[in-house]
Structure formats: structure tokens, C-alpha cells
């Protein structure tokens, strides 16, 4: 993964240019879809930093998404915060929640880690239902239009919404690229590959994994807040187990441990689900089938396979 700096940055810049230009030739319907995909991709990129690079298979990332979503939308609802401060609150809440969960859950590893994160997320989901008067429970609530503004632009209109989603996505992608190419990024991979050996080399696995989880939480919180602010709705369903599975699916499809994989996975899965929803109400069947096929036949995902066969330099 070392070397090839210029080529790598050029590739990612090119992807960003294409995504940015897409708003000019896509129909408004697909442009809005792309904005949704970009927000989901930010969530998946955060998941990828924990799972793909650090090897932390969490089944509770919906909790972090929901933490960001409610930390942004409750102040917007009650005190009329605008999008800027609400987004910052959401990102911070995602990081804080990840830190709190990590302090406890990282005492376990492997299967226990998966179950503990699942349990925490389930407790979070039930807590949101329990405080239904504030959170809206299962029905959720619509955010007031007045708080969905940033720098005077309304996020309820197409162009500012697309640009805001793109801004978040681009900064997330570049930060993730810079992170995995840094020495800390290599330490994260070392935790995934061989924790004992990294410990012998003098790294503290607990702090490295906690830091990776918190960074992952910042992404998830940002995505949750952005979803609420851009699309005007917050609800308990975003804390359900399904939203812990989705980023895992995106990452597995696109390629775990690749920078562009989460976005690619999100695009493909989003349209696959959309296509399947037209045919049947049981579109989750497709999600299940995709999961099984991926772990069976392509555990490295699309970009992981490409990297293995043809492009060793792909980060």
C-alpha cells in the first residue's frame, strides 16, 4: 500500500469529480438518490474503518447512526438549531457514543464483541422507543424547515442538498484516504492482521482499537445527522438492527479494507434494493441472498478482488 501517492490521489479526485458532475446529467430523482447514497456511503466508510481496516466486526453501528441523528434533530426540533451546529452535535454524539460503547465492548473480542455491540444497539433502540414523547418513537418526527438551513440555503431544495451531501462525502472520503495512508492507519491494519504481534512491537491494542472505533463513530454520527437534516426525518427505525447490517453489506460488497469500496457497495446495493422493491415487497430477501453469496463466493468484495488480481496499489 506504500508508494504510488500521485496515482492514488488522482484516482480519488477523479471519482469525486465524476460524482460531483453527476448532478448535471442525472434527473432530479436520481440526483436525490445519489445524495442519499452519499450519506449512506459516509456511514459505510465509518463502518469500514472499524471493520475493514481494524477488524472490528460490529453489529451495533445503528446505535451510532441514531446517536448522531437524534443529537442533531432534537435540538433542531426543540431549540431551532440550524444545520451547521446540529451537524457538529451529531458528529460529536456519534464519537462519544462510540467511545462509551468501545470502553466496555472492546474488553471482548470476536463473537462476543459482535453480540455485545448488538445488545447495546438493541438497548439503544428500545430506549428511543421508551422516550417516545421526545423521540417520536417508531413514527419519528419531521424536522422543522427553519432548522434545515445552512449559510442561508435551504437544505430542502435540490442543489444545496446535493452539495451538502457531496461536501460531507468528499471530506469523509479524503479523510479516510489520508487516515489509512498514515502511520496510524497501518497500526489499525496491524490490529486486524495480528494483535499479539503488534502488542509485542509496543502498541497498545486497546487504545488503537478504541481510537478507530471513535473515528468510525464520528462518521456514523455525521451520516445520521446529515440524513435527518437533508431529508427532514428522524425515527427509531434508523436504530434498528437493519441499519447495523446495511453498512456491513455495503462494505462487504464493495470490498472491506478499500477506501472506495463502501461507496461502490452503497451505490450497487441501493439500486439493487430499489430494483427489487419494484418486483416484490420482500426485498429484504435480496439483502439476505446478497450477504450469503458474498461471504461464500466473494469475501473480499469487488474492489478487494480487483486489488488482489490487478491493482496491488489500490488503497
Amino acid at each position: 500500500m506504500t508508494g504510488g501517492g500521485a496515482r492514488i490521489w488522482a484516482l480519488h479526485a477523479a471519482v469525486l469529480v465524476v460524482v460531483f458532475a453527476a448532478q448535471y446529467w442525472l434527473s432530479p430523482y436520481h440526483a436525490t438518490n445519489l445524495a442519499r447514497i452519499m450519506v449512506l456511503a459516509v456511514f459505510a466508510m465509518g463502518y469500514n474503518l472499524a471493520f475493514g481496516y481494524t477488524g472490528l466486526l460490529s453489529l451495533g453501528h445503528a446505535l451510532l447512526l441514531a446517536a448522531g441523528m437524534y443529537a442533531a434533530s432534537i435540538p433542531a426540533q426543540l431549540w431551532g438549531w440550524t444545520a451547521g451546529p446540529a451537524l457538529i452535535a451529531g458528529i460529536a454524539a456519534g464519537g462519544l457514543m462510540a467511545g462509551a460503547v468501545g470502553l466496555l465492548a472492546l474488553r471482548t473480542a470476536g463473537v462476543s464483541f459482535m453480540i455485545v455491540t448488538l445488545m447495546f444497539a438493541q438497548a439503544g433502540f428500545l430506549t428511543i422507543l421508551y422516550f417516545a414523547p421526545v423521540t417520536g418513537g417508531d413514527d419519528g418526527f419531521a424536522l422543522p424547515a427553519a432548522s434545515r438551513t445552512i449559510l442561508g440555503f435551504s437544505l430542502a431544495t435540490d442543489t444545496p442538498r446535493f452539495l451538502a451531501a457531496f461536501g460531507l462525502f468528499a471530506s469523509g472520503l479524503l479523510a479516510s484516504l489520508a487516515l489509512v495512508r498514515s502511520s496510524f492507519g497501518r497500526t489499525m491494519v496491524a490490529m486486524r492482521e495480528n494483535e499479539e504481534r503488534s502488542r509485542m512491537l509496543g502498541y497498545n491494542p486497546f487504545t488503537v482499537k478504541l481510537a478507530a472505533l471513535v473515528i468510525s463513530g464520528l462518521y456514523a454520527g455525521g451520516a445520521g445527522a446529515a440524513w435527518a437534516l437533508l431529508f427532514g426525518y428522524a425515527g427509531a427505525s434508523f436504530a434498528s438492527i437493519q441499519y447495523s447490517i446495511l453498512p456491513m453489506l455495503y462494505v462487504l460488497l464493495g470490498g472491506a479494507g478499500t477506501v472506495l469500496g463502501p461507496f461502490l457497495g452503497a451505490v450497487l446495493m441501493f439500486y439493487l434494493i430499489e430494483f427489487a422493491s419494484d418486483l416484490t415487497s420482500a426485498y429484504l430477501f435480496i439483502v439476505g441472498l446478497a450477504l450469503v453469496i458474498l461471504v461464500l463466493f466473494a469475501p473480499k468484495g469487488i474492489l478487494g478482488t480487483i486489488r488482489e488480481r490487478w491493482a496491488r496499489w489500490l488503497p
Binding site: T108, I115, F120, G288
Partner: protein
């Protein structure tokens, strides 16, 4: 109703929950113990058992008892066959890697749930109890069928215990659990043991589903709660320890029955979930101290 009888009613309801839970959790625990596989689709096998009970009951003519007895045999066998197929087609090819099998069984969960939604529909359907018989206590009447469920679960669990402890097949399963490489070098067909274990575990869940369906209606989303509770039971009892699982099922079932009569169920679930997460964090071998 006075407090005493009210508590008795709560305990009796809790005992029924505990009995069904013990069956489902024993299946989960068996699969985890022998195969080291966390089967997230376990709740769906329970749901399939209930749905198949409804199908069998509506196909088989005659009094409800005939259909019920038929379902008791047919549903676990069919679900066990499905599980064996899933083992051969999916889990075996993943070499039972713990994390990959969790992802695969999540996929299996969605597929079973959604296939049921498409074929059976979103409705909840009742199945008549095999017999109508009420026990009249001084304070309230109580369904005799519910007591039958407790009894039946006890018999099945006893049979399972005898099977694991007293038969050759049980011995082979325990040997595989302790050390699969050594077991293989002694000529044990480990693949077959795994397939049988997965089918047995699923069959136990399906049996629990058949037993519960005259009390609760059959619906395609009914697998969620038993899955979570079975997880809780298996973790509290110590992963892979059958005895711990039984004790924990009693504790969880009885306390779930009583707590949800006195407090709101959501709050009770929040507390239980957090407590279990803490058990796993601070006492990974479970509360009953069996070897990890």
C-alpha cells in the same frame, strides 16, 4: 386480585415462557457448543416451526389433537432438513469460520423471513389447542394446555440430556465439541456430526415454535424476541453449557414473566439487555461459572 394469587399467576406465565425458552435456547447452545457457530437465524427456525404447525393443522382433517400431534413430528423434521441443507450448502463451505457464519446466518434470517412473508403472508393465524381443559384454582382458572407445554418441554429436555450423556451419538457429539481434530483422527465423520447438530438445534427451535403456537399466533416476524431471549439465556448460562442454559432459562423466563406484569415490558427489556451485555463484558464464562 390479591397480591399472592397475582404473583402465582405471574410465576405460572413465567414458567411457560421458561419452558419454551429452554427448548429454543438448548438448540442454540448445542449448536454453539459443538460447532462454535452463533446461529442468528435460530429465531427463524422457531418461527418456521410455528408456521408449519398452522399449515399442518389446516391440512390434516379430524379433531385439533390429530393435527397437533402430526405437527409435533412433521415441523421439526422439515425444519431440521432445511437446517441440514443450509449447513451443507453454506456453513460447511465457510469452514465454520465464526465471523463469516454470523454474516451468513444473518443472510439466512432475512431469506427465511421474507420467503415466509411472500408465501404465507403478513397475517397472524391462530392454531386451536389440541385439548380444551381448564384447571380451576381458588382464585382464577388456568389453561391446562399451558401446563402441558411445561411438561412436554421438560420431557424433551430430559430426552436430550439422556441422548447427550447416555448414547453413542451423544458421546460422539461431545467428543467433537471437545476437540474436532482429535475426533476426526479417531474416525469420526465430523461433517456429519456438524450437520446433525445443526439439524437437531433447529429442530428443537421448531418444536418450541409448535408448542407455543396455540398460545401465541403464528406470524412471520415472531422469531425476533425468542432469538434475543435465547441469546440472553445462552450467554448468562455460559456459552455452550447445556446445564447453565437450563438454569438461565428458568431464571430469565420467571423474571421476564413477573417483571413484565409489574413494569412496562420495554423498560424490562432495556434493563435485561444491558445486564446481559455487562455479563458478557465482565464475566464472559457466564454467571454459572461453567468452563468457557
Amino acid at each position: 386480585m390479591a397480591f399472592g394469587p397475582f404473583l402465582l399467576l405471574a410465576l405460572m406465565e413465567g414458567l411457560v415462557t421458561a419452558a419454551v425458552l429452554a427448548l429454543a435456547a438448548a438448540g442454540l447452545s448445542l449448536v454453539f457448543g459443538v460447532m462454535r457457530v452463533v446461529n442468528v437465524a435460530h429465531g427463524e427456525f422457531y418461527m418456521l416451526g410455528a408456521i408449519l404447525a398452522w399449515v399442518v393443522a389446516s391440512v390434516v382433517p379430524g379433531p385439533p389433537a390429530v393435527g397437533f400431534v402430526a405437527a409435533l413430528v412433521i415441523a421439526p423434521v422439515l425444519v431440521g432438513a432445511l437446517a441440514a441443507a443450509a449447513d451443507g450448502l453454506i456453513l460447511k463451505r465457510l469452514h465454520y469460520d465464526p465471523e463469516a457464519t454470523i454474516v451468513a446466518t444473518i443472510g439466512l434470517l432475512y431469506m427465511i423471513q421474507q420467503a415466509t412473508l411472500s408465501l404465507y403472508g403478513p397475517n397472524a393465524n391462530p392454531v386451536p389447542a389440541p385439548f380444551e381443559w381448564r384447571i380451576q384454582l381458588p382464585w382464577f382458572g388456568y389453561s391446562g394446555y399451558k401446563l402441558f407445554v411445561v411438561l412436554a418441554a421438560g420431557v424433551v429436555l430430559l430426552a436430550l440430556w439422556i441422548f447427550m450423556r447416555r448414547t453413542k451419538a451423544g458421546l460422539i457429539m461431545r467428543a467433537t465439541q471437545v476437540d474436532r481434530t482429535t475426533a476426526r483422527s479417531f474416525g469420526i465423520n465430523v461433517d456429519l456430526v456438524y450437520m446433525g447438530t445443526f439439524a437437531l438445534g433447529a429442530g428443537l427451535a421448531a418444536l418450541a415454535g409448535v408448542l407455543i403456537v396455540p398460545i401465541q399466533q403464528a406470524q412471520y416476524l415472531m422469531g425476533g424476541d425468542p432469538l434475543l431471549l435465547s441469546f440472553i439465556v445462552v450467554i448468562i448460562g455460559g456459552l455452550g453449557s447445556l446445564r447453565g442454559t437450563l438454569i438461565a432459562a428458568l431464571v430469565i423466563g420467571l423474571s421476564d414473566g413477573t417483571i413484565s406484569m409489574f413494569f412496562t415490558p420495554t423498560l424490562a427489556k432495556i434493563i435485561a439487555t444491558l445486564l446481559v451485555a455487562m455479563v458478557l463484558v465482565f464475566r464472559p464464562q457466564g454467571l454459572f461459572g461453567a468452563r468457557a
